[in-house]
């Protein structure tokens, strides 16, 4: 019994020391795992949320700007430049930014007997200001012409005029 008790005590003492180390190691590993997993999960979710925020922000901003921009096709008059040989007929198109934000006109399309798309490279218009351009187009008197103005945000504004 004594021997048994002695062995038990010896083994018991050793066992107790090992079990404490393993617990610490295990705890450390668990803590590290939790930390790493938690940090990764939080980072990933944060990253996702930030990405979604940016996407949402851009999408909303684009849509807001698109619905806010407004162009008035103020005047379209037909003329003829007799200083140059035919074809010398043109349309003078005046656009006014009557919205609240600046915009950029990218192209103007004239649709009549024939169709003509004219790219615009200097079509930035600040709110309240106008932009005029001359588009050479062979119109005939009393032609019904559809004028389409496209902006950088892909808004399309349309009007109809009689060539006179």
């Amino acid at each position: 019994m004594r021997i048994g008790n002695s062995l038990y005590n010896r083994f018991s003492s050793r066992y107790h020391r090992r079990r404490g180390l393993a617990t610490v190691v295990t705890g450390a590993i668990m803590l590290s795992a939790v930390g790493i997993l938690g940090t990764t999960a939080v980072s990933w979710s944060n990253s996702n949320l930030v990405t979604h925020q940016e996407i949402l922000s851009k999408s909303i901003s684009d849509k807001t700007n698109k619905i806010t921009e407004f162009i008035t096709i103020e005047n379209v008059w037909a003329g003829q430049n007799t200083m140059i040989p035919p074809p010398n007929k043109f349309l003078n198109v005046t656009l006014t930014n009557t919205g609240n934000i600046g915009l950029t006109v990218t192209e103007i399309k004239i649709d009549g007997i024939t169709s003509k798309v004219t790219p615009i490279t200097d079509g930035e218009i600040v709110p309240g200001r106008s932009y005029s351009t001359i588009i050479y187009y062979e119109w005939n008197t009393n032609d019904v012409l559809n004028v389409y103005v496209t902006t950088e945000r892909d808004s399309i504004f349309r009007t109809q005029v009689f060539a006179q």
Partner: protein, 434 residues
């Protein structure tokens, strides 16, 4: 062990809090963003509604000191700001267009004048212009000034009436309809010119035009200009006039001819059109007693006969008083026989033969006993053989008779006033006595 287990819990809770905070902040941000988006949609909608509700009209356009003076009324309930004026010269050969930046605010329901007085452009009465006003919200109004020359208008020149007697005046009326889409301003006619073919010319005198001009003529509207035209000469002389507007579109004219006619007036025409006396032929009736009135033309001879008819006083100003000499007289168509029936005040057709219940007497004058006020009619009775008598007349010969109502009277305010005497003969009554 208890301490370590607590540390893990704390770490886990921290991560959970971080994750929750991230989600909450994301949701908050999203909702704020969506709220801003909603606000921008509301603002845009409001702006679009304002743009649609903006309403203004051009009231008047004149040229003062060779500059436009445009009056604009804000007919909507939003304040407007007119910030652009476009002027296109439609007369000038090179058809120039100018754009002017202006800044004219017009309060709701208010008016603003003198638009165009401050732009560096000289305008001429003789030239037509197409003008456009643009508001800050992008709405515009387009109209033309002195623009009869820009497009043909619907012009008619009419004479009312087209045939007149010498010395009479007719009306020369010019109708101008704006069949375009823009409002016309300062529309005025030229004095119509005479077309002078030979021969057959009458002497025609044209009066001044009324009104001399129209300030505005909206699309679909009609302007009416009128001249009085007095024509002298012999039938069928005539006058032909050609009218056109000032600054006219080439060939946009209208023509009218006034022809002289001979004045022909029958007694009935005179009574009807000159506004004196007339009878209603359907009211003519006769009776030989028994309470019967007859409207036919077969009258038996040898019986006392009384007559009745309605007489209209077409005069619009005066009362006529009838003399006792007023007679319904019948002439034979084949002999010189004549049978007069003088006016009486009333008859009694019930007994046979009929009697005169009230002879044409009214003491002390015994004349002008019956009056017919202006524009009224009265039923008259004719029965007496003599003026003011009470003996009933009759036909004695089988023959055709043509009858005349010979009226003697005076237009006066009262029976005793002298007034102005008036006599008239109204024919077309026929009887066959058998």
């Amino acid at each position: 062990m208890k301490c370590r287990k607590g540390l893990s819990t704390i770490v886990g809770v921290m991560f959970a809090i971080i994750a929750l905070l991230s989600i909450v902040s994301y949701i908050t941000y999203s909702m704020n963003t969506l709220d801003k988006f909603n606000q921008s949609i509301l603002v845009t909608n409001q702006e679009n509604m304002d743009r649609g509700n903006e309403e203004f009209r051009v009231e008047k356009v004149t040229l003062n000191n060779n500059k436009f003076n445009i009056t604009v009324q804000n007919a909507g309930n939003l304040p407007i700001n007119i910030n652009r004026l476009w002027v296109e010269n439609k007369t000038h050969t090179d058809d120039w267009i100018y754009k002017y930046d202006i800044n004219e605010a017009v309060a709701p329901g208010g008016e603003t004048s003198n638009i165009g007085q401050n732009i560096p452009l000289t305008s001429l009465d003789s030239q037509s212009y197409k003008i456009m006003l643009v508001t800050e919200r992008g709405n515009s109004q387009q109209f033309t000034v002195n623009s009869a020359s820009s497009a043909p208008l619907e012009i008619q020149l009419l004479a009312f009436p087209p045939t007149v007697s010498s010395g009479f005046t007719t009306g020369l009326v010019m109708l101008v309809t704006n069949n375009g889409s823009g409002t016309l301003f300062n529309l005025a006619p030229q004095t119509p010119t005479r077309y002078l073919p030979q021969p057959g010319l009458a002497t025609c005198e044209l009066g001044p035009v009324s009104p001399p001009s129209y300030d505005t003529l909206p699309p679909g509207g009609t302007a009416i200009f009128k001249w009085d035209l007095t024509v002298l000469g012999n039938a069928p002389d005539y006058c032909t006039y050609t009218a056109e507007l000032q600054n006219p579109y080439p060939g946009n004219t209208a023509e009218a001819t006034v022809t002289l006619k001979t004045l022909k007036i029958t007694a009935t025409d005179f009574a009807t059109h000159a506004g004196v006396l007339s009878i209603n032929y359907t009211s003519f009736r006769w009776s030989q007693g028994g309470g019967d009135w007859h409207h036919d033309w077969n009258v038996p001879k040898g019986s006392n006969t009384v007559f009745s008819l309605d007489l209209n006083n077409n005069n619009v100003t005066g009362t006529i008083w009838l003399s006792n000499a007023t007679t319904l007289v019948f002439y034979s168509v084949s002999s010189s026989a004549q049978v007069p029936f003088y006016i009486v005040k009333n008859v009694n057709e019930v007994p046979t033969p009929p009697t005169i219940s009230q002879p044409y007497t009214c003491p002390p004058v015994n004349d002008y006993c019956i009056d017919i006020p202006r524009e009224e009619k009265r039923t008259l009775y004719f029965a007496a053989k003599n003026e003011g008598g009470n003996m009933v007349g009759q036909f004695s010969t089988e023959i055709q008779y043509t009858g005349f109502l010979v009226i003697f009277g005076k237009y006066s305010d009262a029976q005793n006033d002298a007034g102005s005497q008036y006599g008239q003969n109204i024919p077309y009554i026929g009887l066959l006595v058998n």
